[in-house]
């Protein structure tokens, strides 16, 4: 019964976990049948025979092997003065034993498992247990359903026509994409992870598109006297709100006698539509539980600008420092186990402490390798062990910035040893202990043997007294 319950419990649990509707009455019947078959097989395999059962009864009832011996004599046909007497005696005693005493029901702790298993099965069948299994799956299904509805509503064509058709022209691809995603989620062809990935890609594409629009707008404005990127800079930020667009529009209008050209107005409308689409996708991603994109880092106009299209943003991009190890300094002496690093471009006139912090930031970006060793310690050069001198400016070379000495600790050169000292000593120690053990000196004799050698003057005895002092009490 316990086996049947265990099997049913396993099947029900599996059905709950996988969500498959595979557990029904026919499965229950089959499992019970399987359990009965296994139990019968086990009983057949462990059946001990009549003689063994009689021995158990003898032992249990204190019959001193009367029944088993009588049965054995009966089987073997042995003749003796005692055999008929023994058989009579055994029969008399067996008839005196009550039926319940032959195979008494004994309660054991394992019998408690049966009701416990039944209770567990009932709980599993009756309750929708929250946790990593079905509860989580249903919640995820609900979330995806809600998100798909939101996406479908956002991408609905009538919204495009009725609300602000002019401003939505910048995001038809995004809407199509969102509509397709909503359909895929609705038809359960896409899981949450895939949806998150697709939305992230779409968000990135929208941002890049918006950046291109801002750059095109910037190019359009460049012949206009007085108009500059100062008004457009908020539009190149990570997040664009409609207010930003309207503010930029208001700031630009005076340069065009109060009315923007149609192309500019259209560009601004596209940017606003892109921003709204981005905001929607970000919110959707947030609902899906993915991490929001990093807003602290602004979009880099220069990084995405087309060749030749750079204006004010390009100059800023040239100020970026190169990564560690990309431009080794002139004074680099790797043979000495140090690395000298140049900090800052020629135009960077930072004070020594500020320059030091720059160098420290570069230290954090990765390990430095010099000579045979590698240092992964992330600390400022002046804080590293072994550094005796503070950062010093390199006065001899103009525009080289500051030079730092970085001591790199490296592993020693490999020797010829192939094993550690402990590995070598351990077998020797074992051999010595084995030799001592083989002597087979009884513990009670060890003291005698030791005292014998002590008594003939080899040292001190166990009490610590000197042997000569012990011999001569004077």
């Amino acid at each position: 019964m316990s086996l049947a319950l265990v099997l049913n419990l396993a099947a029900a649990g599996l059905a709950k976990i996988t969500g498959l509707a595979m557990y029904n009455w026919s499965v229950v019947a089959w499992l019970v049948l399987l359990a009965l078959s296994l139990a019968a097989l086990y009983a057949l395999r462990t059946f001990r025979g009549v003689l063994e059962e009689l021995r158990s009864v003898d032992e249990r009832l204190g019959l001193k092997d009367r029944l088993s011996t009588a049965y054995e004599c009966h089987l073997s046909g042995r003749e003796s003065v005692f055999v008929p007497l023994l058989c009579d005696d055994a029969a008399r005693r067996a008839s005196a034993v009550s039926e319940g005493s032959w195979f008494p029901f004994t309660f054991s702790r394992s019998d408690l498992f049966t009701p416990l298993l039944a209770a567990a099965l009932a709980i599993l069948l009756l309750m929708d247990i929250p946790g990593p299994g079905p509860g989580r799956r249903s919640a995820e299904r609900q979330l995806l359903s809600r998100v798909s509805q939101q996406m479908a509503a956002y991408a609905r064509p009538e919204r495009k026509e009725q609300a602000r058709p002019k401003e939505e022209e910048g995001t038809p691809d995004a809407q199509e994409k969102l509509k397709a995603l909503a359909e895929a989620v609705k038809n359960e062809k896409m899981d949450r992870k895939e949806l998150t990935r697709q939305l992230s890609d779409l968000l990135q594409a929208l941002k890049e598109k918006r950046l291109g629009q801002v750059q095109r707008l910037e190019a359009d404005l460049s012949p206009t006297p007085g108009a500059s990127m100062a008004q457009l800079r908020p539009l190149a930020e990570k997040e664009v709100r409609p207010e930003d667009v309207r503010q930029a529009q208001a700031q630009l209008e005076p340069y065009f006698d109060g009315e923007l050209p149609a192309s500019l107005a259209r560009s601004l409308a596209d940017i606003e539509a892109s921003g709204k689409a981005e905001a929607f996708i970000e919110q959707t991603l947030k609902d899906l539980g993915s991490e929001r994109p990093d807003r602290s880092k602004p979009l880099d106009l220069a990084e995405n600008a087309p060749a030749g299209g750079r204006s004010q943003g390009a100059g800023r991009a040239e100020d970026r420092r190169s990564g560690p190890g990309t431009a080794p300094g002139k004074g680099q002496t790797s043979a000495e186990g140090t690395k000298e690093k140049e900090g800052g471009a020629p135009g960077d006139e930072a004070p020594p402490d500020q320059a030091g912090s720059k160098a420290e930031k570069n230290e954090d970006e990765g390990p430095y390798v010099a000579g045979h060793g590698t240092s992964n310690e992330k600390m400022a050069p002046s804080e590293m062990k072994g550094t005796t001198r503070p950062p010093e400016p390199d006065a001899g070379l103009v525009g080289q910035g500051e030079r730092y000495s970085i001591h790199v600790r490296s592993l020693p050169a490999p020797g010829r040893a192939g094993a550690t000292e402990e590995e070598v000593l351990r077998p020797y120690r074992r051999a010595v202990e084995e030799a001592l053990r083989r002597e087979d000196i009884p513990p009670a004799y060890r003291a005698y043997i030791k005292n014998y050698f002590l008594s003939i003057g080899l040292g001190k005895d166990e009490t610590g007294k000197d042997d000569h002092a012990r011999r001569s009490p004077d």
């Binding site: 054995e72 008929p84 087979d440 009884p442 513990p443």
Partner: protein, 333 residues
């Protein structure tokens, strides 16, 4: 149903022992287990080694048993200068009426039925070995001529465990020939009082023979017919095997302290002793409990302790008790 004669025959051992015990109690106080085991030795055709401190009545018990059993009793006091011929007998030169001289065999004290070998460990091994043939084959060979000993023949030897000075421990081969090794225990306060009453007053009890040699021989035959179940035999075998330190069944203490375990004679002693124990109990079959009951006297002298066991003063009884506790009555699957 069985007839009364058959039942009476089956209970012959029990009733006879009860009569012997009643008669022995006239002079022996307590020691019922010892008497039971001595009677077991007699019925199994074995010999007994009795160990105990002086003054506990070892000699008295054996002498009284000889009288009660109506057997020819001989006593040999073992001393260091005792020679084998002093035990077995020797040929002496005799002269007939015609004046012709001839050798005539003069039988020694071994030619009895119940032999008391008192303080057997005081004689030299050579003299001790003179008993070997007699104990095993119930015959002696003197000057190439064999002389049969009259059945029933039983040697009951005593030894003192305290005085080791000037003694010769029995050879292993001879110790193994003793069916049981029995330890005589010190009497309790009540028993001591009873001993005083019986030994310090004027009237001395007179023992009467209650069993003849023929009855003893009949009982010896009966004992052999007691059925023993296979699992009881298997248990006795496992007990003996478990006393061997190298055997897979060996118990922990046997592995640690035993040099050589019990011999096959140990199994024989266990089963025969169990049969007699069953008959004493009024049963017709030997059980596992009967085997356990005789395990101590049957095995304690057959275990040879190693140096470590002797150094740590391990008692063979403790090892046998471990065997009884540690060996399962059913073989492990």
């Amino acid at each position: 149903m069985q007839d009364a004669a058959q039942i009476e025959k089956a209970h012959l051992v029990q009733t006879t022992f009860e009569r012997v015990l009643a008669e022995m109690k006239k002079v022996i106080v307590g020691q019922e287990d010892l008497l039971r085991h001595l009677f077991t030795c007699l019925l199994c055709g074995g010999h007994g080694l009795i160990e105990g401190v002086p003054g506990l009545g070892k000699t008295l018990i054996v002498r009284s048993l000889g009288r009660v059993l109506h057997l020819k009793y001989s006593r040999i006091q073992f001393t260091p200068d005792l020679m084998p011929a002093d035990i077995l007998g020797t040929n002496i030169v005799n002269q007939n009426e015609e004046g012709r001289r001839f050798f005539e065999f003069f039988p020694g004290p071994i030619f009895g039925q119940i032999i008391l070998a008192d303080e057997i460990n005081r004689a030299t091994p050579k003299t001790q070995s003179a008993l070997l043939e007699a104990m095993q084959e119930e015959k002696v060979t003197v000057f190439g001529k064999e002389y049969s000993l009259e059945p029933p023949f039983i040697v009951l030897a005593t030894q003192n465990p305290l005085e080791m000075e000037g003694t010769y421990p029995l050879p292993e081969a001879q110790v193994d020939r003793f069916f049981f090794k029995l330890k005589i225990t010190y009497p309790s306060a009540e028993e001591l009082g009873e001993i005083l009453d019986k030994t310090t007053e004027e009237a001395e009890p007179e023992l009467q023979p209650v069993v003849a040699a023929d009855t003893i021989l009949e009982m010896k035959r009966l004992v052999r017919q007691v059925p023993v179940a296979e699992h009881v035999k298997a248990y006795a075998i496992r007990l003996v095997l478990a006393s061997h330190p190298d055997d897979s069944l060996a118990v922990a203490r046997a592995r640690q302290y035993v040099r050589i375990g019990a011999s096959p004679r140990g199994v024989q002693s266990l089963i025969l002793g169990a049969k007699v124990a069953a008959l004493f109990d009024g049963r017709y079959n030997a059980s596992l409990e009967d085997v356990q009951a005789v395990a101590l006297p049957a095995l304690r002298h057959r275990l040879l302790l190693n140096l470590r066991g002797e150094a740590e003063g391990v008692d063979a009884d403790a090892v046998v008790n471990d065997l009884v506790r540690g060996v399962p009555t059913r073989p492990r699957a």
